[in-house]
């Protein structure tokens, strides 16, 4: 078939025009299709972080107060298993020498002895658990949360080996039997998956602060976006000396401590 250069250019031009208006046509066609989007009232951030003011917790809080631990475990259907080999924990307490290994001097401040430190997943900026997960069940979200998709977890426990903070727990048994008071608004987990703190992504999505932060009566837990200079977290970081856990490992944890 013979075609002049002129005809060819005409057809080419028409095609280019058609491609140009394609996005517009798609937009019109999709105008009525259902859409999934973010809640307008959701809290937005680029790297969520937490400051744990242990001074406040010890000085103002009641002796043996477990409000934050209980609030978290209640709202997230975390089972209570006593056996330390099989226990499930999203937020828990550790002694100073286990919280900050390497910082323990032979003669440490007497005040720190036996004191409980609140510890949880550090939502590291360079999370080893994400790197080792073979199914991408654990991943880093745009808002800095190290998140888990329990549907994809195959229970290989690489992440538990990778996490230097022990922030991950494996369900060795059916967890439902160990939950006294089920929260019908939140799912549970099943035997054979790993679980951990999610920085309350489900609460951030509706504009609420994490359950532990909200439950603390003395305001020892402070949550915010650390990339935002006006956030409450940044205000504390700017005015206090803070330390993080095991920074020498290079995971860049995002939970800060005031001691």
């Amino acid at each position: 078939m013979e075609k002049s250069k002129r005809d060819f250019l005409k057809v080419s031009g028409l095609c280019a025009l058609g491609l140009g208006v394609l996005p517009l046509a798609k937009g019109i066609a999709a105008g009525n299709a259902p859409q999934v989007m973010q809640n307008p009232e959701a809290l937005k951030g680029q790297q969520w972080a937490m400051v744990v003011d242990m001074k406040k917790c010890w000085e103002k809080g009641k002796e043996g107060c477990k409000d934050c631990l209980d609030a978290c475990h209640k709202v997230h259907n975390v089972p209570t298993i006593e056996d330390p080999q099989e226990e499930i924990k999203w937020i828990w307490t550790e002694h100073y020498e286990n919280t900050f290994p390497g910082l323990g001097n032979p003669y440490t401040n007497e005040k720190l002895k036996g004191k409980p430190f609140i510890v949880l997943c550090n939502h590291c900026s360079n999370p080893p658990c994400v790197r080792v997960c073979p199914t991408q069940a654990t991943f880093k979200r745009a808002d800095g949360i190290t998140m888990m998709d329990y549907h994809r977890c195959i229970g290989c426990r690489f992440c538990m080996a990778g996490c230097p903070f022990g922030a991950r727990s494996f369900n060795f048994r059916e967890p439902r039997e160990y939950i006294k008071d089920l929260n019908y608004k939140y799912p549970g987990r099943e035997r054979g998956v790993v679980e951990k703190c999610s920085f309350c992504d489900e609460r951030l999505a509706v504009g609420q602060l994490p359950a532990c932060v909200e439950s603390c009566k003395v305001g020892a837990l402070v949550f915010g976006d650390q990339t935002d200079p006006k956030s409450p977290v940044r205000k504390l970081l700017d005015t206090n000396f803070t330390i993080r856990r095991k920074t020498e490992l290079g995971t860049e944890p995002n939970v800060y401590y005031i001691i």
């Binding site: 009525n32 259902p34 998709d149 939140y186």
Partner: protein, 137 residues
């Protein structure tokens, strides 16, 4: 053509065919009736316009795909708001949205899944983790 030991072979074949097809004869005319789940929960009864997030036909054939997409959007992209074609807004949540209306899991979910030959509680394994609403027995 002559079949050696034809008697025995043919008789054996006949017995074999009968044995293999016994389940068919046994269940002949006893087809399980199609399930008729009762979807009239109190919440649905009070609705003026009984409309799910998608038309009924699409939900019947595509609810698994929808749930899968919702899961991905919620967990990975933190998108928890579903705007339906008619502009109505829904919370992308199985426990908090689907089951808010369809609060009768034993009817709404299990009946058809059982009829389709899916092992209850194993396929699909939604409820090993997710918490189904309490039902009056």
């Amino acid at each position: 053509m002559k079949i050696y030991n034809g008697k025995y072979i043919l008789a054996g074949l006949a017995v074999f065919v009968v044995l293999v097809t016994v389940p068919i004869w046994y269940n002949m005319g006893k087809a399980a009736p199609a399930p008729t789940p009762n979807i009239d929960t109190p919440v649905i009864k009070q609705m003026q316009e009984k409309q799910c997030v998608l038309p009924k036909a699409e939900m019947i054939t595509g609810h698994m795909q929808l749930l899968n997409d919702w899961r991905t959007e919620v967990v990975r992209n933190s998108n928890r708001l579903y705007v339906a074609a008619d502009g109505k807004k829904y919370n992308t949540s199985l426990q908090n949205e689907c089951m808010r209306c369809h609060s009768n899991k034993s009817q709404f979910c299990d009946m058809c899944h059982t009829y389709a030959g899916l092992a209850t509680g194993q396929i699909p394994y939604c409820w090993t983790c997710h918490v189904a609403p309490k039902e009056a027995k």
